[in-house]
């Protein structure tokens, strides 16, 4: 099954129906194991104490916040270049999930920052760029809502998303540009990770759990969007079949078929 076969929404929905239960089970299991390791197995930090456990939510959420934008950007390329119908749906579905993960990263960072730095918020480069990312997500969601025609909305959003990719790159490299209060990246860097494996393993598990969570939510959200579009198409068809008819006829005409 290639990406082109999935252009048929019915086939895609069938695949989702098969995959989703497994994904949900895997997500719940990974979250359970990850949280167990994060809360009970991982050691306390000698400086930060119990608050270090916030990291196990904070870091994966932050990674996912960026990953969602990457997903949105790839989908945007898909909808602009190949006009893949599912790419539109995927881009639209990613935006609220990305906004939620960005919010989670900001929120967990704030409650972590209070005991560690003594303040909920500092205008540090990475915090600031995540706030900007959050605003970008909300702007994109607002743009999706503002344009009624889904195809036009998809194209316009794809353009603004791709222009925003430049900003996400700046976010990623902002750490090196304005290296301030926030600690520099310590997991992926040349010379191996700087974190001890007793913390790195739970962190990896949580990252895996969050990725699974994202895939699950994304597929569910895409499914919902396809359903929503079908309902919209049915309503429009019903309206065009019986323009002056009563609501009774409309309900009869509605289940006329799929997209």
């Amino acid at each position: 099954m290639t990406l082109y076969d999935l252009a048929n929404p019915t086939r895609f929905l069938k695949l989702v129906k098969v995959l989703l239960p497994w994904l949900i089970v895997a997500t719940v299991a990974a979250l359970a194991v990850g949280l167990y390791f994060a809360f009970f197995v991982a050691p306390e930090d000698y400086q930060q104490g119990q608050t270090v456990r916030i990291m196990f939510v904070h870091v994966p959420a932050a990674q996912l916040a960026l990953m969602c934008y990457a997903m949105m950007a790839l989908s945007s390329i898909g909808s602009l270049v190949w006009k893949h119908p599912l790419a539109d749906v995927s881009a639209k579905a990613s935006a609220p999930i990305g906004a939620a993960f960005t919010f989670l990263a900001l929120f967990s960072g704030a409650i972590w920052g209070k005991p560690m730095w003594g303040t909920f918020w500092v205008w540090d480069a990475r915090l600031t760029s995540f706030l900007v990312l959050f605003i970008m997500y909300l702007g994109i969601i607002a743009l999706w809502k503002a344009i009624e025609d889904p195809i036009k909305a998809a194209k316009v959003n794809a353009i603004i998303t791709l222009v925003g990719v430049i900003n996400v790159v700046i976010i990623k490299f902002s750490v090196e540009w304005w290296n301030t209060l926030h600690q520099p990246p310590s997991i992926i860097r040349s010379g191996g990770p700087a974190i001890h494996s007793s913390i790195l393993i739970p962190l990896g598990l949580m990252a895996l759990a969050f990725v699974l969570l994202f895939v699950t939510l994304h597929l569910m959200s895409m499914r919902n969007e396809i359903m929503r579009r079908r309902i919209r198409a049915m309503r429009m068809r019903a309206a065009s079949v019986a323009p002056a008819a009563s609501s009774n006829t409309v309900t009869k005409a509605a289940p006329a078929g799929a997209r």
């Binding site: 605003i135 702007g139 607002a142 743009l143 503002a146 603004i160 430049i166 900003n167």
Partner: protein, 222 residues
């Protein structure tokens, strides 16, 4: 070549004559700069320290204010459709429109900057630097704003959404603009590096802005 000149003159004259003309942006700029001392207090030392930032934010807001007129008026009277269908490169059309829009609304802001600098107590060197950075950086604001204007062109009240979409994209311009402008006041800050970054962002906007805005206009056209 002739059609480009005609288009530029048309856009320039329209921007100057419609809706209060170029002065309305300068007036808004003046209002924003005036309101800052009421917020932070009449302390001239504090004002001179944040003066460059005030001027940059004022210019950014004034630019945003005028952006929704960039394509919307043309869409309403149908001339945008004609421009799209004219067979000319739409990217070039957008670029010319941006240039005319900037000449009519952005350039007056830059010219007003030295005068407004006096209100926030900048010294001579800072005035020169702020004006110079705005001269180089304000086109980038218009070009990035053109993307937002193109994307929201089909919306009846897209102005607020346009600002929300454009402000994140304008943040790097603001950062490098202000840090170059304040390089004179703070010695440890190097002037050349942020200034070159600002130039790079403007050149970058020169490419990305027309491309993305033209793509958005094509979408909303059909």
């Amino acid at each position: 070549m002739n059609w480009m000149k005609c288009l530029f003159v048309r856009e320039y004259q329209l921007a100057n004559r419609v809706g209060g003309g170029a002065l309305i942006g300068v007036l808004f700029f003046l209002a924003v700069v005036t309101i800052f001392p009421f917020g932070v207090g009449p302390d001239m030392i504090l004002l001179s320290r944040i003066g460059a930032a005030i001027l940059w934010i004022g210019a950014l807001l004034a630019t945003l204010l005028g952006l929704d007129r960039l394509f919307q008026a043309d869409r309403e009277d149908g001339s945008l459709e004609l421009l799209v269908m004219s067979g000319r490169s739409l990217e070039l059309v957008v670029l010319i429109k941006c240039a005319a829009h900037w000449a009519a609304t952005g350039l007056p802001l830059v010219l007003a900057t030295p005068v407004l600098s006096l209100f926030v107590g900048l010294d001579f060197q800072s005035i020169v630097l702020v004006t110079l950075t705005l001269l180089v950086g304000a086109p980038a604001l218009t070009l990035v704003g053109a993307v937002g204007a193109g994307v929201t062109v089909s919306m009846r009240r897209g102005g607020v959404l346009l600002s929300i979409l454009v402000i994140p994209l304008a943040i790097p311009i603001l950062i490098f603009g202000v840090s170059a402008a304040t390089a004179g006041a703070i010695d440890s800050n190097n002037f050349l590096v942020p200034f070159l970054f600002l130039c790079a962002l403007t050149l970058f906007g020169l490419v990305v802005g027309p491309l993305a805005a033209a793509a958005a206009l094509r979408v909303s056209g059909d």
